[in-house]
């Protein structure tokens, strides 16, 4: 029987967790009368231990004698009305349990049996007037997620009568005999083929199933299998490998599809592969145009993009999404998202040191009050869970979270978007080789490093290639373990510098199947022995071992003569490493279990056998016969209401909970200004403390504009990222972009009747990306697409608005020149760069007013915009700019207002002077979201010089920074139109998101 130790705070000590839970229940549920919530940590020790051992463990590693008490195998407290015990379901990652097990072994100083495990949980003791129904609701909605956690609820009497030892321990007790493989008969009709795919959660289409069917009918395949004594039928291991390798998640089938694109009233156009013809082409055109100023080192072929930073280092950058898992378990999904994307740069080239994270989230309003569809969690719970997951993943990994944003739109109820990015710093040269290159060599050993394999994450790759539905598997959800990963990356950086491996890649979606399958392309084959793989618990079938997405694992290719050293060093560093097989040049992926072959697939077929999809796209341009009417209103209250909008208000409460300055390179933090709470435009940091060269990281994301035209949405996203970066001093000629598309299903079907329109939106988004990035000279270095962001249960279908996140990394030659957005001194001149157009369509203002308007912004003159950005870069380099801030959500008025309150200064400006193209109302001047506009503050003595730098460009002196609290704006015909106190505006802006 397992032993139980409970640890909680002493009665006179504040229970911070309990207090937090109590407040959350009051604010989110408002049920019952809760006098107090006390908590106790539960340690379940799954072994026979002496009573004296239990006492020494409870008093030693498991409790803090200053503030905590403990109890052993009896209740921690008797003063409560209800107790709720939350633990993990068997097999779910329990990080504290793993740490506790290690601590127990060290403290007892003796070897424990193999079956020994420690499991953790939490008990919540509630006092107050709470009904059974209420406590169940608290358990469900606040304390536990039933997908991954078990929950037990008792009232006072019941609890004191319970024998808790009989609860046992949540171990996986799977005693079934493993079947090495099962044959699957594909000689069946189409309906049966589809049924095989559907029932097996394979997400393979009929065309794909038929293609596999044909392969197994090929004479050479039949002969080869016969000669090796393998069944002629496909094995379930092979089917799983193909489903993983060919999944939308891994193969990006939609981005590689043949598309017939029709614009209303025009002839259809045949497009081959959006990826090749837009994304790759953009980069190629930019690189060609840049010639010897090209900064790209490795694009599109590795886990992340690599650009040059300086003469000794390169920058590595990757952004991923983790939407589907975050919908089911926000905490685990987001935590896995961040530690997962960490491994992408880490597994690029020969590996790199991780220097920064970015995070961009899209949620429905946390104040949502409507009816929630089945299986959908409340948006506030999603927000808080995701926030905490990224907090734990980023902070515990020691990687600063330097840039991000949160976008709100109620369609993200269907699926939240969780974008996580990671940057790394890579030496240009590692042991005499280029750092960004790697190659597994024939006969190299395949070594898996890091965590063990469990059933967690099985079918993650295929699952994220489908909409969220009733059968969405809970095993696709998992919890990351940042410390196991940190130990692994610490060791691997050491191994890299000691020249112990030839290639490295991560085990992400698709697990070993993906990592080994990809690396085996270097040598054209591999032999893998799955029985050697270290497992979290017994009972895994070979196919499960191969496709499991259990986290914290890298695969490395180690030369035979270095295997012993590699394994010995790993053991010394307390990191598990296992020799799974060898890379070969046989042309086949040969998977074995206890020496029997369970999968034998041609490398060619595996990687190139997938048939191209053929899709249709139909574009209907938006129409608007009359310009919509914006009812006259009080612009002052309009502005204050804009400041309160979720997409504009302060995100400080999230930012503060992320460590944004570990590694000590932080130069422009996410928050700036007199009170350290102004909204910075971009992050500036020094990745190497020995040089003042730095990087600038920013993002652009505006899904609202997709409602009118995804072309405009992409234009505005790219320009926003660029504007943000140049405001802080980024060099516009040294920028690289990452495109992350999150779309609603663009493949038309009965359940998805407007698929052709959604695909047309995708085509237009790609056109815009190419057009603007080529004009701006920004190569795309990496990206990702997530195409099935829909919710579909019963008659409810919720599709997200098509969304591109454009992430940007740029260089700043000297961080000591960087600029922030807070106004600095009264008396300085204010300029507005760029031209304002009547573009209120899909703006925050239009959304607030409930007006449908199709006049969305776009970049009208990219050459001119870029000329402005270059002039701004020169001006910042000469030290002429005291502050700079771009106009985005909410337009000019919001931007200037933010500058005023961040610098605690006033401003007096006249917008009738500003460059204007067609604006006839003050509302347009104030709130239009036209692109390429930046407000700049300049000392009077430098005005002549900066005006010379902007000669011939739209840049107008519109006013002055003033002392005091007031922002005064004049509109058309120099008539005062808006006067507002920055203090009022700030309080509106700050008091929205405070959880």
């Amino acid at each position: 029987m397992p032993e139980r130790i409970y640890v909680g705070t002493k009665p006179n000590v504040r229970d911070a967790l309990g207090e937090k839970i109590r407040q959350r229940i009051i604010s989110d549920l408002g049920v019952g009368t809760i006098n107090s919530v006390r908590t106790a940590a539960v340690y379940i020790l799954n072994a026979q231990l002496f009573p004296s051992d239990l006492v020494s463990l409870a008093e030693g590693p498991l409790s803090d004698p200053i503030i905590q008490d403990y109890s052993i195998n009896r209740t921690f407290t008797e003063t409560f009305d209800w107790v709720v015990e939350v633990g993990f379901r068997p097999g779910v990652t329990d990080n504290a349990g793993r740490t506790a097990k290690e601590a127990v072994v060290i403290a007892l100083g003796r070897t424990m049996p193999d079956s020994f495990s420690v499991h953790t949980g939490t008990q919540y003791f509630f006092s107050g007037n709470i009904s059974q129904k209420q406590i169940e609701r608290i358990g469900d909605e606040i304390l536990a997620n039933a997908l991954i956690q078990s929950i037990k609820i008792y009232n006072h009497e019941e609890w004191l009568a319970v024998h808790t030892k009989e609860f046992g321990a949540p171990v996986v007790t799977d005693t079934h005999i493993v079947t090495p493989f099962v044959e699957v008969d594909l000689h069946v009709d189409d309906a049966a083929l589809l049924a095989i795919s559907k029932n097996g959660m394979l997400a393979l289409s009929l065309d794909e199933m038929k293609c596999i069917q044909e392969y197994f009918l090929r004479q050479d395949v039949i002969d080869k299998r016969k000669s090796l004594g393998i069944p002629a039928n496909i094995t379930n291991v092979e089917l799983e490998i193909l489903a993983q390798t060919w999944s939308e998640h891994c193969k990006h089938k939609i981005f590689n599809a043949d598309i017939t694109y029709t614009e209303e009233g025009r002839r259809p156009v045949e497009l081959k592969s959006l990826f090749k013809n837009y994304i790759q082409k953009t980069t190629q055109m930019v690189r060609d145009a840049k010639g010897d100023k090209d900064i790209c080192l490795s694009v599109f072929k590795d886990n992340a993009g690599v650009i040059k930073f300086n003469d000794s280092s390169a920058i590595v950058f990757k952004v991923e999404t983790h939407n589907s898992p975050s919908a089911l378990d926000p905490y685990g999904g987001a935590l896995t998202g961040i530690v997962g994307v960490n491994r992408d740069p880490f597994g690029t080239g020969m590996g790199c040191r991780l220097i920064a994270n970015t995070d961009v989230f899209c949620f429905a309003s946390p104040f949502f009050t409507g009816q929630l569809p089945p299986r959908i969690l409340h948006p506030k719970r999603v927000l808080e869970g995701v926030r905490e997951g990224v907090e734990h993943g980023g902070n515990k990994s020691g990687i600063p979270t330097i840039n991000g944003t949160i976008v709100f739109d109620d369609r993200f109820l269907g699926k939240p978007l969780v974008y996580c990015g990671t940057l790394g710093l890579m030496p240009l040269e590692i042991n005499g080789h280029k750092g960004w290159e790697k190659e597994a060599k024939n006969n190299d050993h395949i070594i898996m490093v890091g965590g063990r394999i469990g059933k967690d994450g099985i079918h993650g790759a295929t699952f994220s290639s489908e909409p969220l539905h009733e059968g969405s598997p809970a095993t696709a959800v998992q919890i990351g373990d940042p410390i196991t990963q940190k130990r692994m990356t610490d060791f691997l950086l050491h191994a890299r510098d000691a020249d112990l491996y030839n290639a490295i890649t991560d085990n992400g979606a698709g697990g070993l199947s993906s990592s080994i399958g990809e690396m085996a392309r270097d040598t054209n084959g591999a032999v893998v022995n799955l029985d050697r793989a270290p497992l979290k618990y017994p009972g895994l079938e070979p196919w499960e071992i191969f496709v499991s997405e259990a986290q914290e694992r890298m695969t490395v290719s180690v030369a035979p003569e270095k295997v012993d050293t590699f394994l010995e060093t790993a053991a010394k560093w307390n990191v598990e490493a296992t020799d799974l097989g060898v890379f070969t040049n046989t042309g086949f992926l040969d998977i074995r279990y206890n020496n029997a072959t369970v999968a034998y697939l041609s490398m060619d077929f595996l990687h190139d056998g997938l048939p191209e999809m053929k899709l249709k796209a139909t574009w209907k341009p938006p129409r608007q016969d009359v310009r919509p009417h914006y009812a006259a209103s009080d612009v002052k209250s309009d502005l204050l209401n804009l400041m309160r909008r979720l997409n504009i208000c302060s995100k400080e409460y999230v930012i503060r909970q992320y460590d944004h300055e570990v590694q000590a390179g932080s130069v422009v933090k996410p928050l700036c200004g007199t009170r350290n709470d102004g909204p910075s435009d971009a992050a500036v940091m020094r990745p190497d403390l020995n040089t003042f060269e730095g990087i600038v990281v920013s993002n652009g994301i505006v899904p609202r504009y997709s409602d009118v035209d995804a072309y405009a949405m992409v234009h505005c996203s790219v320009d926003e990222a660029v504007r943000n970066a140049v405001c802080t001093g980024a060099d516009p000629s040294f920028m690289a972009g990452l495109d992350n598309f999150c779309w609603c299903d663009p493949v038309a079907s009965d359940g998805n009747p407007d698929g052709e329109y959604k695909l047309a939106q995708l085509v237009r988004a790609n056109q815009a990306l190419l057009d603007l990035c080529v004009s701006y000279g920004i190569p795309l270095i990496s990206g990702k697409d997530s195409m099935k962001n829909d919710y579909s249960i019963g008659s409810v279908r919720i599709s997200i608005p098509p969304t591109l996140l454009f992430s940007l990394v740029a260089k700043i030659p000297d961080v000591r020149k960087a600029v922030t957005m807070d106004l600095k001194e009264s008396g300085n001149a204010l300029y507005l760069i760029g031209t304002t157009y009547p573009e209120l369509g899909a703006s925050e203002y239009a959304a607030m007013k409930g007006v449908k308007d199709i006049e969305v912004p776009k970049v009208h003159n990219p050459k001119e915009s870029m000329a402005c950005y270059s002039a701004l870069f020169s001006a910042i380099g000469e030290g002429l700019v005291r502050s700079a801030h771009d106009c985005s959500d909410g337009g000019f008025a919001v931007a200037l207002c933010e500058m005023c309150f961040s610098g605690e200064l006033g401003a007096s400006v006249d917008l009738s002077i500003a460059s204007n193209n067609g604006c006839t109302t003050d509302v347009e001047l104030l709130f239009s979201e036209s692109t390429s506009r930046i407000i700049v503050e300049v000392k009077e003595s430098n005005t002549a010089r900066i005006e010379a730098l902007f000669a011939g460009l739209p840049m107008k002196r519109i006013g002055t920074v003033t002392k005091g609290d007031m922002m005064h704006i004049k509109g058309h015909r120099q008539i005062p139109v808006l006067s507002v106190s920055r203090i009022d505006a700030k309080s509106a802006w700050k008091n929205v998101l405070q959880f």
Binding site: K20, G60, L62, I66, A96
Partner: protein
């Protein structure tokens, strides 16, 4: 010729501020600065003895899973070095006995407290205080104003009046076992560093100036000799003026406020060891 000065910066197992901590040591002029993983100490590949300053940097040792730094404290207390079969902890005791310096920052401070190295009242190395969950119940990254205690024997805060540094923790609330411990800390001037109000420049219990609710606004304490020092704020995070959150609007000296603590350690070592 003067003796070469050396610092060891311990890392591994979740520590993550080792590079900037080592950078600070190098910046102020330590002749030799080594980043060493805890596994190298455990294996016996590296020993503490040759070094003058031991830095225990910030991070999340073992994920702070059993409470901040608890599992690492357990490891230090119970591990025998593989090569020598000697207790790892006795190396630390010898290091202290030799009159050398230990600096614990954030997670390193938590580790020192849980090992009983601080505050070591009555020269007893048992746990007398703790660092626990912030009153806010959350991890926070924010800059705080600090005042050093002029009367403190602390080697590291010598000649320092005030500091402005970031805190980045969820478990920084300083709590003593009882009032007697608190009184003694005060009486012996072991409270080397306190959170202060920006306006009044006086120790404060007000949030967020006191970011965690620490008793007596305690941000850092030393042992009775002043040679062992731990603090929650991060001096290694303010090495250059560009680290300051308002450097674009305030006239600041090129060097940040953090290096001074390391310089004090170096001076002490040069003069005394």
């Amino acid at each position: 010729m003067a003796k070469k000065t050396s610092a060891i910066v311990l890392t591994g197992n979740g520590t993550n501020c080792e590079r900037e901590t080592a950078h600070a040591c190098t910046m102020v002029g330590f002749d030799k600065v080594d980043i060493v993983t805890v596994w190298e100490l455990v294996n016996g590949d590296v020993e503490l003895a040759p070094y003058d300053l031991l830095c225990l940097p910030g991070g999340f040792l073992d994920g702070d899973d059993l409470g901040s730094a608890k599992a690492q404290a357990n490891r230090f207390l119970h591990t025998l070095v593989t090569k020598t079969k000697q207790p790892l902890f006795s190396q630390i005791m010898t290091f202290i006995g030799d009159g050398k310096l230990i600096l614990g920052i954030c997670n390193g401070f938590q580790l020192m407290v849980k090992l009983g190295l601080l505050p070591a009242l009555g020269n007893s190395f048992t746990q007398q205080v703790t660092l626990t969950n912030n009153d806010s119940g959350r991890f926070e990254d924010r800059w705080v104003n600090l005042k050093a205690n002029k009367a403190s024997p602390c080697v590291f805060t010598k000649d320092i009046d005030t500091l402005y540094l970031p805190v980045r923790h969820g478990e920084g609330k300083f709590v003593t076992r009882d009032k007697e411990v608190l009184d003694q800390l005060k009486a012996k001037n072991q409270i080397a560093l306190s959170y202060i109000d920006a306006e009044t420049r006086m120790p404060t219990m007000k949030y967020p100036e006191n970011p965690n609710g620490s008793q007596l606004s305690i941000a850092g304490v030393c042992d009775p000799t002043g040679r062992l020092f731990g603090l929650m704020p991060h001096p290694e995070a303010f090495l250059h003026k560009t680290n300051h959150p308002r450097w674009t609007r305030e006239n600041l000296p090129e060097e940040g406020m953090g290096p001074k603590l390391f310089k004090n350690a170096l001076n002490y070592i040069s003069q005394n060891l």
